[in-house]
């Protein structure tokens, strides 16, 4: 979900109609800002939970925190850019925002975020085995 928001909000920045004759549909700015804020709040809550829960703290490693950081970064920088934070030039903030989103995409296949796809492989492997035995809850 975070992903789509980000893509949608970024797409607002470029005008594809010049090239393709039509443009991606975009979401209204208010919605984007609201969703970003909610997502960021959720991410912070999740991080706090990871840091305070004794089980999660024990089993977490660099990957968990780094993946969190790269997921949160585009949201945070996007909101900063939109708000023209600290009077910094918009282009600079936008560049940082786009870079952070690219970093997320680059990291995606190497880290914890791959669970979005691996869930099918892992659950499938176990599912096939248990289905054969007829084991259930």
């Amino acid at each position: 979900m975070l992903f789509f928001e980000d893509v949608f909000s970024d797409l607002r920045g470029c005008d594809c109609s010049d090239v393709f004759g039509c443009a991606w549909p975009t979401l209204p700015t208010g919605v984007i800002t609201f969703l970003s804020a909610v997502s960021l709040a959720a991410l912070v809550a999740v991080l706090i939970h990871r840091l305070t829960d004794p089980v999660k703290r024990l089993i977490s490693n660099f990957d968990d925190y780094f993946s969190w950081f790269l997921t949160a970064a585009p949201l945070a920088t996007g909101m900063l850019a939109f708000a023209h934070a600290g009077g910094a030039p918009y282009e600079k903030l936008l560049a940082i925002h786009i870079l952070s989103a690219e970093a997320l995409l680059i990291w995606f296949p190497f880290g914890k975020l791959m669970h979005a796809f691996l869930i099918f492989a892992a659950r499938g492997t176990t599912g096939v085995l248990f289905e054969r035995k007829g084991a259930s809850l």
Partner: protein, 456 residues
């Protein structure tokens, strides 16, 4: 400490206690053989990924460290100690996987992102892998990513076995199994003698070594040595049904210590004895005893050992009883009591034979009061995976047994029933420890005691 040369590792068995184990060792040797530390680590890891490469890789890459498996594990549930989180029990193996086998292993090694696993670390983890895991598979069910953590732990145990890092008792039992063909000393001679003695004592006919038979029955060593009434019960039921059946001295032991200890060659040897015996007498059905892992070994892995589909059916005792209830051959007297069923993990949750015992209990006319949770999510008794034999684990095991007692007390049922001799001895031991007034019953024996007089 490793085994000093010439020390007597052939510990005596202790068969007259609530649970079967070897006599308490004066000094524990939880490290076996003369391997160097580096060799131990290498063997542990090599055997962990062996035969399991792709599945292990998918699982290892998939864990999102959400910690949900903790709540599923009885060892965490009673202690709330994060070290009992199921996936944490595999930490050194995860570490080694990332460093040695994962897709980015070269990076992890080059930058030393994951330190090398040491023999000390493995020794420390022995407590987590053996003393505080019954391989019950409850965590595997709860994991949102569907990681079969229990399968990974038994794979880790394979590695530990080859590295000579096994708790004293388990190693002594496996060693005896290799030497005598039965982990608890139920050799063919002992088995024969016991059958004769039981047949005399109970005035029941127990056929042995018939050249041809439709049905081949097997037993677990715990039953042969500790619950011989189960042998008698099996004979009574088979005779009652008028079946053409036999025991065979060349294939009676369903306990597969090869599977338990993680030695694939032994596992195959043990399974092939049963398979060959069934083929030799032309059996159409092989019945597995009330034992959890025996079911996994032959029902779910047997054909793989044989290399082709088995030419006979394999049924757990509870499935066999249920089948004969359903086809009307097994007629039972009504038992006017309330009962509750303890699901043996390897038969129910991991085996899939969940309804069969309930069909039989219904035929017995008992008022079945299910525990909460029950069936596939029932709590483990705490004694599986060799934990019950491991003295070092006693204190922790007794703690987790409280979950079971509470569950049963809550049902208010008069008769707890199960279908696994290993669960039963764990209950016997827990009962003695807590001076509890509830005694665990065997489904098989309950049926044998309540056979309707007029045979069909």
């Amino acid at each position: 400490m490793s085994t000093p040369p010439g020390s007597d590792d052939r510990l005596e068995l202790e068969l007259d206690q609530p649970r079967v184990s070897v006599k308490a060792p004066a000094v524990r040797f939880d490290r076996q053989g003369e391997l160097t530390d580096a060799e131990r680590v290498e063997k542990a890891m090599g055997n962990f990924v062996k035969d399991f490469g792709r599945t292990a890789a998918i699982y290892m890459e998939s864990c999102i460290h959400c910690g949900m498996c903790a709540e599923a594990c009885h060892f965490y549930e009673v202690t709330k100690d994060p070290k009992y989180t199921p996936i944490w029990k595999l930490e050194p193996f995860k570490q080694a996987y990332k460093r040695e086998y994962g897709p980015f292993a070269f990076l992890f090694r080059a930058l030393n992102l994951k330190p090398r696993v040491t023999a000390e670390q493995l020794q420390e983890w022995q407590h987590l892998i053996y003393d505080s895991c019954t391989v019950c598979g409850r965590c595997s069910l709860m994991c949102p990513m569907g990681i079969d953590i229990a399968a990974l732990i038994s794979q880790a145990r394979h590695g530990m076995f080859h590295a000579g890092l096994v708790p004293h008792e388990l190693w002594a039992v496996a060693e005896r199994g290799k030497r005598e063909g039965s982990p608890l000393g139920a050799t063919p001679k002992v088995f024969k003698d016991r059958l004769e003695w039981l047949a005399d004592d109970h005035e029941v006919e127990i056929p042995l070594d018939k050249a041809r038979a439709e049905v081949l029955c097997t037993m677990s060593s715990i039953e042969i040595m500790k619950y011989p009434d189960s042998v008698v019960a099996t004979a009574r039921i088979m005779n009652h049904l008028g079946l053409d059946w036999t025991f065979r001295s060349d294939g009676y032991e369903a306990t597969n210590f090869g599977l338990l200890s993680g030695n694939a060659a032994w596992q195959k040897e043990m399974s092939m004895k049963l398979i060959n015996a069934a083929v030799a007498c032309g059996a159409k059905t092989l019945i597995l005893p009330e034992c959890g892992h025996a079911y996994t070994a032959l029902r779910w892995m047997g054909a793989n050992m044989y290399g082709k589909p088995l030419p006979f059916r394999v049924l757990h005792m509870s499935e066999f009883l249920a089948e004969n209830v359903q086809n009307g051959r097994l007629k039972l007297r009504k038992l006017p009591k309330s009962a509750t069923f303890h699901d043996p993990c390897q038969v129910s949750r991991r085996g899939g034979a969940i309804e069969a015992p309930r069909v039989v209990l219904e035929a017995l006319g008992v008022e079945l009061r299910e525990m909460f949770p029950t069936k596939g999510t029932n709590w483990c008794c705490g004694g599986g995976g060799g934990v019950v034999a491991n003295r070092r684990a006693d204190e922790l095991r007794h703690k987790v047994f409280r979950i079971k007692m509470e569950q049963i007390e809550q049902t208010g049922a008069e008769v707890p029933v199960t279908s696994c001799a290993n669960c039963r001895q764990t209950f016997d031991d827990g009962q003695a420890h807590y001076k509890w007034d509830k005694e665990m019953h065997s489904l098989l024996e309950l049926v044998a005691e309540n056979l309707a007089e007029e045979a069909t």
